[in-house]
Subunit: 455 residues, 2 copies
């Protein structure tokens, strides 16, 4: 830990934090068209910073949606090359009224930095950039580095997926370094070695040709919301079992060793229920622990049901249309295309009388598993041990980072998923935060990891 | 038909129509707080017009919500007194994009006047006011008239209900004249003698204490939208049968005579499906015709399911809360209080594991039946025959006008429900309209009815 880069990072920590706040003030919400300019602004500001710290060939790579940011530094002759990945786009902040401070006005409270994007993923991207700055300012990078940041992770990442699939020479590398995951518990260094995949769909139900008065017509005409509810009730039962025929076929369960390792993690389901979830009980498939349910089992969720009357008070309308935003998480052994086909065919079959049904695939990503025996994972465990003073745990995540699968499939890169979020960081929810200690030690971990990877 | 009042109405028809357009331009949407001032503006403009045409004691009666308008003219010594009722508030116009012309910019097209409130109920209120003007301008009213207009019909009519329940002396009358219904078919004079009641509720389901990321948590925590869907699916089956235990107990079916009369009405279910509804098939309870399903059977509808993510694209959130706007229509033999109690107790019982449920009653109204053998109903049939040249048909409506029950219960008034809407007038829906011939003949019918009632 005698690295001069680490000394640099410690001396400049307050500045790093202030710069991160500036990035967090840009509402780069990729899913909302009205924030398109903000996404570009965030990309430009990252490009400017990469240029300033001494990265080379800095440029924006345009996509159909929001631009990517590319930079490299390739002067570590004979050393391996890493592809550093992160994303600058964020989720919408609604419901706004539940934020203690406004989502795009970062606030330090209780040792955390609160803002939309604080941990997912701007804070972790900034940790990457600041690790690079600290190394560049104190002698240069110990390995060759390419940086590729995207602005569409929260909307499916189509631009980067197409770019990676085209196998551009400027992405040639030995492994990827992805900072978009979390630590299993405070102070416990963690590498994520498995991700669920997903399909995100819209299920639309149409009844009458126009909205109708529920007094005049109620009882004789189809109600799309009732139909949609009846269909959703046939997708998943009250125990969390998905009812789509064939949905579970071919799933690869975790090994006995992996399950044993999960059982030894510091995890208490009742504590999780009370502190993180706050629901009356936990739910889910019988016979599986919470970690198995969220890491190794597929699931189905409804995110919202737009349409009809949603204002205050009463409107007695039978809407002509109703929509459900339905997503499914997939695990190794499943494919987005296969799962979507089963879902679509089942949904068309269970549509109640009188309504028409349309199913749309919004985006998808493959599940993935990373082998833990390669030299970069080993280098990462050494670096983490040095910074955090503990053995690294290997976990999976229930979330989906489709690009990790794409790096593997198209570029032959396995990913080191080294993340510094915490389980209660409120990702995608009000009061998202990033622990300030994790931000500081995250930068140090990344510095040490690049040094270890260069040995 | 030699009435000088009718001649006056015909001479002034164009002016009457222009005045109605001015009233329709006021967006008096009672359910939206931001239109509170518009509601008052509509009330004031009606009061000013009643004053101008010669009605007396004109005043606004304040409520907790939007004001009522009162006026009277009591100089027909020895003649009966009618309480003329209508409402100036309208439904919200959404979805806006489906209107051919903006909802508050009235437009004449194809022999109709299009605007939100054109027929429900500003156009019909204006027909009442213009009938009174025509009679006052040509010798005075043939009977005593009290006018009571409200601005909360579309939000439950709490203000007028409380006022009527207090039995104020200024509402003393012999019968009520309610213009808020429709004709069974174009050119077919119609009196409505039965209404469904209703309860309008909000069903709220709460899961986790905050919104959660569906990747991290999906599979282990309750999803309020899935829970709500599962519950709605247990409220009503795919054949339209309501599954709340005891819900149908005590229903009074229509008499054989009434059913026979309905069977002789000019009604074709397939034509109704194609022209009015436009759905793939009609739905509803097995063993009942469409008229029975909509007039004499209770039903349950979902109007919208607010909460969660409803924007474009994808947000992978498990919302902490979800809401369903659920209403039930009631028929004679059922009471709002009884039906709500059954619903509430059932809903609490079927809540899936992990969620908390809250049920709120937003508003309610009693079902009602009007006896057809009283002199005012008889007078109405004579007047309608004269204006339209056809025998009057007696129908029910599937809609709810709670005030009709209140007039009966508190003031001992039975109601003459004489309406001039048409079945395809798009009440509560985009492109609401009022047929221009019906507006003209509606005014004439009301003039003749008041004359007949005074004989």
């Amino acid at each position: 830990m005698s690295s001069s880069a680490i000394a640099f990072a410690r001396q400049n920590h307050r500045r790093f934090l202030d710069e991160l706040k500036a990035l967090l003030r840009i509402p780069s919400i990729s899913t909302l068209p009205e924030h398109k300019d903000d996404c570009r602004k965030a990309a430009e500001s990252l490009a400017a910073e990469l240029q300033r710290i001494g990265m080379e060939h800095v440029r924006l790579i345009e996509t159909e949606g929001h631009p990517m940011v590319y930079a490299d530094w390739l002067h570590a002759a004979g050393k391996p090359t890493t592809l550093v990945y992160g994303h600058y786009d964020v989720q919408p902040p609604d419901p706004l009224e539940e934020w203690v401070a406004p989502p795009f006005e970062p606030q330090e409270r209780n040792g955390n930095l609160y803002a939309r994007g604080a941990v997912d993923d701007k804070g972790q991207v900034w940790a990457q950039v600041k690790a690079l700055e600290s190394l560049l300012a104190t002698g240069g990078l110990p390995i060759n580095v390419r940086v590729l940041l995207e602005g569409e992770e929260e909307v499916g990442g189509e631009g980067i997926a197409a770019y990676v699939a085209s196998k551009p020479p400027e992405l040639a590398a030995d492994f990827a370094l992805v900072c978009d995951t979390e630590m299993f518990a405070p102070g416990l260094p963690t590498l994520c070695v498995g991700l669920r995949g997903m399909i995100y769909t819209e299920l639309e139900v149409r009844g009458a040709k126009t909205d109708l008065h529920s007094g005049m017509y109620g009882g004789a005409v189809p109600n799309p919301f009732v139909a949609l509810a009846q269909m959703v009730a046939k997708l998943k039962d009250e125990e969390g079992h998905i009812l789509i025929p064939g949905f579970y076929d071919g799933i690869l369960p975790p090994s006995e060793d992996e399950l044993a390792a999960w059982r030894s993690l510091p995890f208490d389901e009742e504590q999780y229920r009370i502190a993180e979830v706050g629901s009356r009980t936990l739910v889910g498939e019988r016979g599986f622990t919470v970690l198995e349910r969220t890491w190794a089992r597929p699931t189905l969720d409804v995110h919202g049901m737009p349409g009809g009357f949603t204002g205050a008070g009463a409107k007695t309308v039978i809407p002509a249309r109703a929509l459900a935003k339905v997503s499914m998480r997939l695990v190794p052994g499943m494919t987005p295309a296969g799962s979507f086909a089963l879902y679509k065919s089942y949904v068309e079959q269970i549509a109640p009388p009188g309504v028409e049904v349309e199913v749309r695939l919004i985006h998808s990503g493959d599940p993935c598993l990373v082998p833990t025996d390669n030299r970069y994972i080993q280098a990462a465990t050494r670096a983490l041990h040095e910074v955090w003073g503990k053995e690294t745990v290997f976990i999976r995540s229930g979330g989906s980072i489709p690009i990790v699968g794409d790096f593997d499939r198209h570029l032959g890169l396995s990913s080191v998923m080294m993340g510094f979020g915490l389980p209660d960081d409120n990702l995608h929810a009000p009061n998202e935060k990033f622990n300030l200690t994790n931000f500081a030690l995250g930068i140090e971990s990344l510095i040490r990891f690049l040094e270890e990877a260069g040995r």
